[in-house]
C-alpha cells in the first residue's frame, strides 16, 4: 500500500449510536499504549468536522437516527464509515427490538464492517487499515 493521495494522519471520529460500551472501550484500548495506534497518526478527534473516518458503534435506537445522519453529513469529503460491532451490522443480539432503526447501513453508507461482540482491538485496527486504503482510493479519484 503506497500512500500517495492521502498524505495526512488519519483522524477518527467515534459516535456511540446506542452501543453497550463494549466496542467503545475496545476502540479506546486500541489508542492506549498496548495497541497504540497513535504512533501511526491515528487519533480520535472530538469533532466530526475534523474527521476522515467515522467509527459507528451500536444498533442505532430511534432517538439516535437523526443525530447519526447529522454527524455523517458534518464530516468533510472524502470520508469513510467504519462500522464496529455486530449489533450495528444486523441488529446482533438486539435484533427484533422495537426501538431499533438500524442496522447502520440502512441509515448511512458503510464502507468497512468490523464484526464481533465486541471485536478485539486487533480487528478494529485491521478495519481502520482497510478504511485507510479506501480513503486513499477516494482521495485519488478526487485528484484525477
Amino acid at each position: 500500500m503506497s500512500l500517495n493521495s492521502f498524505k495526512r494522519a488519519l483522524w477518527l471520529y467515534h459516535i456511540n449510536a446506542g452501543s453497550c460500551n463494549g466496542c467503545d472501550i475496545e476502540i479506546l484500548a486500541t489508542l492506549t499504549p498496548r495497541y497504540d495506534v497513535e504512533r501511526f497518526g491515528i487519533v480520535l478527534v472530538g469533532s466530526p468536522r475534523h474527521a476522515d473516518v467515522l467509527a459507528v458503534t451500536g444498533p442505532v435506537p430511534r432517538q439516535m437516527v437523526s443525530r447519526l445522519k447529522r454527524v455523517y453529513e458534518q464530516i468533510p469529503d472524502p470520508k469513510v464509515v467504519l462500522q464496529v460491532g455486530s449489533c450495528g451490522m444486523e441488529g446482533g443480539v438486539f435484533h427484533e427490538s422495537y426501538n431499533l432503526v438500524g442496522p447502520v447501513d440502512q441509515i448511512i453508507p458503510v464502507d468497512v464492517y468490523v464484526p464481533g461482540c465486541p471485536p478485539r482491538p486487533e480487528a478494529i485496527i485491521e478495519g481502520v487499515v482497510k478504511a485507510w486504503v479506501k480513503l486513499e482510493k477516494a482521495a485519488e479519484q478526487r485528484i484525477t
Binding site: N16, S19, N21, G22, G46, M64, S97
Partner: protein, 417 residues
Amino acid sequence: MAASKGIERYTIPVGPIHPALKEPIRLDLGIDGEEIVDVDVIVGQVHRGIEWLGMNRNNPVQNIYIAERVCGICNICHPFAYIMAVEQAAGITPPERAEYIRTIIAEMERIHSHLLWAGVAAHEIGFDTVFYLVWRVREEIMDLIEYVTGNRVTKAMFQIGGVRRDITEEQFPRIRKSLDYYKSILNQLKTVFLDDRMIQMRTRNVGVLKAEDALKFLAVGPTARASGVTKDVRQDQAYGAYADMDIRAITPDVLTGTIIGDVYDRIIVRLLEVKQSIEIIEQCLDKMPSGTILVEPKIAKLLAMLKKAEGEGVGRAEAPRGEVIHYVRLEAERETLAAWKIRAPTYTNLMSIPTILKGGQIADVPIAFGSIDPCMSCTNRAIVVDRKTNKKSMLTYEELHELSIEKTRRLKAEFDR
C-alpha cells in the same frame, strides 16, 4: 431536577462524544456567570428494549447474553444479578465452587472498571499522560480476564445454576502473578493520584455530595461511600461467596481521616476498592472449595426445569458503580420470562447530579459529572443559559474539555508562582 423557567430544551444532535465516556446523555445547565445554578439531565438515547426482548423473544438461558450486553463495562454484575433473580424464582441453589468463581470474576471486573474510570478521570482534567499510564496498567487485568474467561470484554461465564467455565488449580499462579503486579504498583498509582497538588486542587471541594444528600437521593456504590454512607451490597446482603470474605464498605476517612464527599474522596474510594478486590480474589483462591460448577449441565433439562418453575426473584449485586437490581417473574408453562426489570446503578446516581454540579464552575463539569462514573453518559453538549443576559448558547464537549484543561493550566501557573 426540573429545569427552571428560562431554559428551553432543544433537540440536540449527540455531538462530540468524549473519547472515554461514550454514551449519549444530555445535561441542561443553568448558568449565572461561571456558576451553575440549574441542572437537568435527559436520558434515554440508548434505549434498546432489552427487557422487552427478555420477555418476548428469549428464554431465560438466552437472556444471559442479553443481560451481559446491558453494559459492556458492567457485563458481569448484570448477568450476576439476573441469574440470582432467576435462581431465587426457580429455587435453584448453585454449587459453592460456582459461587467462588462468580465472585472472582466479579472482582476482576471491578478492578478493570475502576482503573478505566481512573484513566478517564485523569483525562477529564487534562492529564492525558496519567490516562495512558492507567490504561497501560489496565491491560494486565484485561489479559487476566481473557486468560480466565476466554474473552476480553463480554465474559460469558454465567449459567443459571452455576458457571460455564472452571478456574483450575493450574490457573492460580497466573492469577496470583497479576494480582502481585497490581499490589506492587498500587502505591505508585496512589502517589500519582492522591499526592499530586494539581489533582488535589482540581478535585478537592469539587462536586461535593454530603452524606445526607447521598441518602436523600439514594446514591449507591462509590458515590455514596465517598460521602460517608457505608452502603455496599457485598457487606449488607452478602451474595455469592462474599459472606465468607472479610468485607467492609470503604469510606475515604480510612486514608485521610475526614469525609468531604468531593471528587477527591471518590478517587480515594475507588483506588482503595481496587486493593480490596485484590484481597477478595486472593481469599477466594485460598478458600476455593472443590466440587461441581453446574447444577444442571444439560441446557434442555435446565430449560424444562425453568419452564415448570413459578415464582419471582430479586437479584442484587454490587456493580463497580453501585447496586444493580434485577427483578424476574417466572410463570409455569411460559418459555420466556413473565417479567424482567433492571435497575442500573447510574440511574439512581444521576439523581445526585444536580446537587453535585450546582454551585460549581462550568470548567468543573466534566470531572464532577464523571466522578459518579456514569455508565450511560458523556456531557456531549450542554445548553448554557446566562442568567444576566438571558443569552443561550451551546457548549460542545470540546469547549467544555478545553475549559477544564485551561483551569488546570491556570491553577498550575498560580501554583508554580
